[in-house]
C-alpha cells in the first residue's frame, strides 16, 4: 500500500469468523432467554420484584448476551470500516470473546440457580470483557480523526459502561452481602446506564451511520447528532443521580432530557429515511419502526414512574418497553439486515462478484420472527396490565417461536453461502 493511503477493505474487514462468532452467540443467547422464560412460566413474570431467578437470568441473557454480543461484534466490524483504519490488535477480539461469552453464560446460570460463586465469576468475566472492549475502542478512537458524531456517542456509551459495570458488580455482591439500602433503586440506575447509556448510545451512534446506509438516505447532519448527545448526557446524569439519591423530580428531569434527545435523534433519522433512494423499505425496517416507538414509550413510562406511578405493574412494563421493546427490536432488525450483507461482502473472492445478499436470506423466517416478536410484546404487556396468566403464556410462547425463527434465519445465512460456494466450485470444475 502507498504511504498516506487509507487501509484497504481487506485490512479493515475482520476475518468473517471473528464477528460471526459474536453474532452467533447473540442469536443463541436470544433463544436461551426466551426458552428460559417460557420454562419459568407466567408466575415468574407476575411475581417478579427483582433479585436472582429465571427472569433476572433471562434479562441478562438478553442484555449482556444478545444486545452486548451484537454490539461488540458490530462495533469490532463497523469501527474500522467507518473510521477507515484497521483494528490495531485484532487478536484482542478473540480474547474478548473468550472472556465475555462464557462470562455471560456463567452469569445466566448463576442467576437461574442459587450459585453465588458462579454468578460472581460470570459477572467478573463479563466485566473484564467489557473493560477490554472499552480499551480497544478508546485505543482505536485515539488513532483516528473525523466521525465526530460517532465518537461523541461512543464516548458517552463508554462512560455509561464504567458506571453500569461498577453498579452491576455491586448488585451481584449485594445479593449475598446486603450492602444497599435500596437494591431496586440501584438496579434501576444500573438499567438506565445499560439500556439508555451504554447500549442506547451505541445504538444512537451506529444508527447515524447504518440507517442512512441501509435505506440509501442522506447522511445525518452533524448538528443533529451533536445535539442528541448533549441532551443525552444530562439525561443520563440526572436519571442516575435521581434514582440513587431518591429524587423523583431529578429522575423526571432526566426522563425529559432523554425524551428531547430521542426526538432530536429520531427526527434526524426520519429525515434521512424520508429522502432515501431505496423506494421500498426492506422487511427489517418493521422492527426498526417498532423499536423507535418502544424507545419513546419506555421514556414516557420512566417519566411516569419518576413522578410516582406504582411500581406494580409499571416498572416491569418499563423494563419490557426498554429491553425487548426498544433495544432487542432494534438489534434484531440490524442483525437481520447485516448478517446476509456481511456474508455477501466476504463471499467476493478471486475477483468474482459477491453472492447477492438477498439470496442468503430466508424471508419466511424474518416475517415469522417479526410477527411473533411484536405479538410477544403485546401479549405480555396485556397480561401484566390485566394480571392474567393466559396472555402471558401466549406471549412467552410467541417470544420463543420468534427466537426459533430468528435462529433458523441466522443459521440459514452460512448454510446458503456454503451452497453458493459449492455451486461455484462445481461450475469452475465443470
Amino acid at each position: 500500500m502507498l504511504p498516506g493511503l487509507p487501509a484497504s477493505a481487506a485490512d479493515r474487514l475482520l476475518p468473517p469468523h471473528l464477528p460471526g462468532r459474536f453474532f452467533a452467540a447473540a442469536v443463541l443467547f436470544h433463544l436461551a432467554a426466551w426458552l428460559l422464560l417460557l420454562g419459568a412460566g407466567p408466575d415468574a413474570l407476575l411475581g417478579f420484584t427483582g433479585g436472582p431467578g429465571p427472569v433476572a437470568a433471562a434479562l441478562h441473557l438478553l442484555t449482556l448476551g444478545t444486545l452486548g454480543m451484537s454490539a461488540l461484534g458490530a462495533a469490532l466490524q463497523m469501527l474500522p470500516v467507518v473510521t477507515n483504519r484497521a483494528l490495531a490488535h485484532p487478536t484482542a477480539a478473540r480474547w474478548l470473546f473468550v472472556l465475555y461469552a462464557p462470562g455471560v453464560a456463567l452469569l445466566g446460570l448463576g442467576l437461574t440457580r442459587p450459585l453465588p460463586g458462579v454468578r460472581m465469576m460470570g459477572g467478573a468475566m463479563t466485566g473484564l470483557g467489557l473493560a477490554l472492549f472499552a480499551a480497544m475502542v478508546i485505543h482505536h478512537l485515539l488513532q483516528v480523526s473525523g466521525m465526530q458524531a460517532l465518537r461523541r456517542h461512543l464516548a458517552l456509551a463508554l462512560a455509561a459502561l464504567v458506571g453500569l459495570v461498577l453498579l452491576g458488580l455491586g448488585l451481584l455482591a449485594d445479593f449475598s452481602a446486603g450492602w444497599f439500602d435500596n437494591h431496586r433503586a440501584v438496579a434501576a440506575a444500573h438499567a438506565v446506564l445499560a439500556g439508555y447509556g451504554f447500549m442506547g448510545m451505541l445504538a444512537f451512534g451506529f444508527s447515524t451511520v447504518l440507517i442512512p446506509m441501509f435505506v440509501l438516505g442522506p447522511a445525518i447532519p452533524e448538528t443533529a447528532a451533536r445535539r442528541s448527545v448533549w441532551l443525552a448526557a444530562p439525561a443520563l446524569g440526572c436519571g442516575v443521580i435521581g434514582l440513587l439519591g431518591g429524587s423523583g423530580a431529578l429522575t423526571a428531569i432526566g426522563a425529559l432530557f432523554g425524551l428531547a434527545a430521542v426526538v432530536v435523534h429520531l427526527l434526524a433519522l426520519a429525515g434521512s429515511v424520508r429522502r432515501r433512494m431505496r423506494r421500498r423499505l426492506e422487511p427489517f425496517f418493521r422492527l426498526v419502526w417498532l423499536s423507535w416507538a418502544m424507545l419513546l414509550l419506555s421514556l414516557v413510562l420512566g417519566l411516569a414512574l419518576a413522578l410516582g406511578a406504582p411500581a406494580d405493574p409499571w416498572a416491569v412494563l418499563w423494563g419490557l418497553a426498554l429491553v425487548p421493546g426498544w433495544l432487542l427490536s432494534f438489534v434484531l432488525a440490524i442483525l437481520q439486515r447485516i448478517l446476509p450483507f456481511l456474508a455477501a461482502m466476504h463471499s467476493a473472492t478471486d475477483g468474482r462478484p459477491p453472492v447477492l445478499p438477498s439470496r442468503l436470506e430466508t424471508p419466511w423466517a424474518t416475517t415469522l420472527h417479526s410477527i411473533a416478536h411484536a405479538s410477544a410484546l403485546a401479549l405480555i404487556t396485556a397480561g401484566l396490565l390485566a394480571g392474567l396468566v393466559w396472555p402471558l403464556w401466549l406471549g412467552l410462547a410467541a417470544g420463543a417461536i420468534g427466537a426459533v425463527a430468528f435462529t433458523l434465519y441466522a443459521a440459514g445465512v452460512p448454510w446458503r453461502l456454503s451452497r453458493f460456494r459449492a455451486a461455484l466450485a462445481a461450475s469452475a470444475q465443470g
Partner: protein, 175 residues
C-alpha cells in the same frame, strides 16, 4: 496580447508520489495569487475536481497533457465567470463531481461523508441501466459497495491504488 505573468509554479508530483494529498498545499498557493495572476501546476493527471474547487475561488483553468503521466494546468485568477459552462465536470447535489472521459463516466466522491459516496455511485449505476463503465475516485476502498452493486447487476472489475486516491472501475456483470 501577451500572457499574464506566472505568479506561482507548483510541482505536486513529488508530494503525490509520497502518498500526500496536495490539496491544502495547492489551495494555500492559490490564495497567494493576486487578481489577474497565474498559478501553474505540474500534476500526473488532469485534476478536474481541483479545477472545480479553484473555480469557486475565481480561477479559470486550462489543462494540457505533456506526457502520459504529466499534465500542466494553468490557473488564471480572472473571476472564473462562465467557467461552469466551459468545464467538463458537473457538481452533484451531494458535492460529488461527475464528468465523462474516453473510458467512461468519472465520479469523484472523495471527502464526502458516508453514505453519500454509496448513494452517488448507485444513482449513476442505476441511471446507466446496465450499459457503460464508471470510474470512481474514492478516498477509501468502499466495503459496502460490492453487495449493493451485485444486487444491481454490476461489479467492481478493478481497484487501483492511485496517488492519494483509490480508483474503482465498475462495469455491468457479464453473466
Amino acid at each position: 496580447m501577451s500572457d499574464p505573468p506566472v505568479s506561482s509554479l507548483l510541482d505536486v508530483r513529488p508530494l503525490l508520489a509520497r502518498g500526500i494529498d496536495p490539496y491544502e498545499t495547492v489551495m494555500a498557493a492559490a490564495a497567494a495569487v493576486p487578481s489577474g495572476g497565474v498559478l501553474r501546476l505540474d500534476v500526473p493527471f488532469n485534476p478536474v475536481p481541483l479545477r472545480r474547487a479553484l473555480a469557486r475561488e475565481g480561477f479559470s483553468s486550462h489543462a494540457q497533457r505533456q506526457a502520459v503521466d504529466f499534465w500542466q494546468v494553468t490557473f488564471l485568477r480572472d473571476g472564473a465567470e462562465g467557467w461552469e459552462q466551459r468545464t467538463e465536470a458537473e457538481i452533484l447535489p451531494e458535492g460529488a463531481m461527475q464528468w465523462q472521459e474516453e473510458d467512461g463516466f468519472h465520479l469523484d466522491v472523495r471527502r464526502l461523508p458516508p453514505p453519500e459516496p454509496l448513494r452517488v455511485i448507485l444513482r449513476l449505476v442505476e441511471a446507466l441501466n446496465g450499459v457503460g463503465r464508471v470510474v470512481v475516485h474514492h478516498d477509501r476502498d468502499p466495503v459496502f459497495l460490492a453487495p449493493e452493486l451485485a444486487e444491481r447487476g454490476w461489479a467492481i472489475v478493478r481497484v487501483d491504488q492511485a496517488m492519494a486516491e483509490i480508483r474503482l472501475c465498475l462495469e455491468p456483470e457479464r453473466r
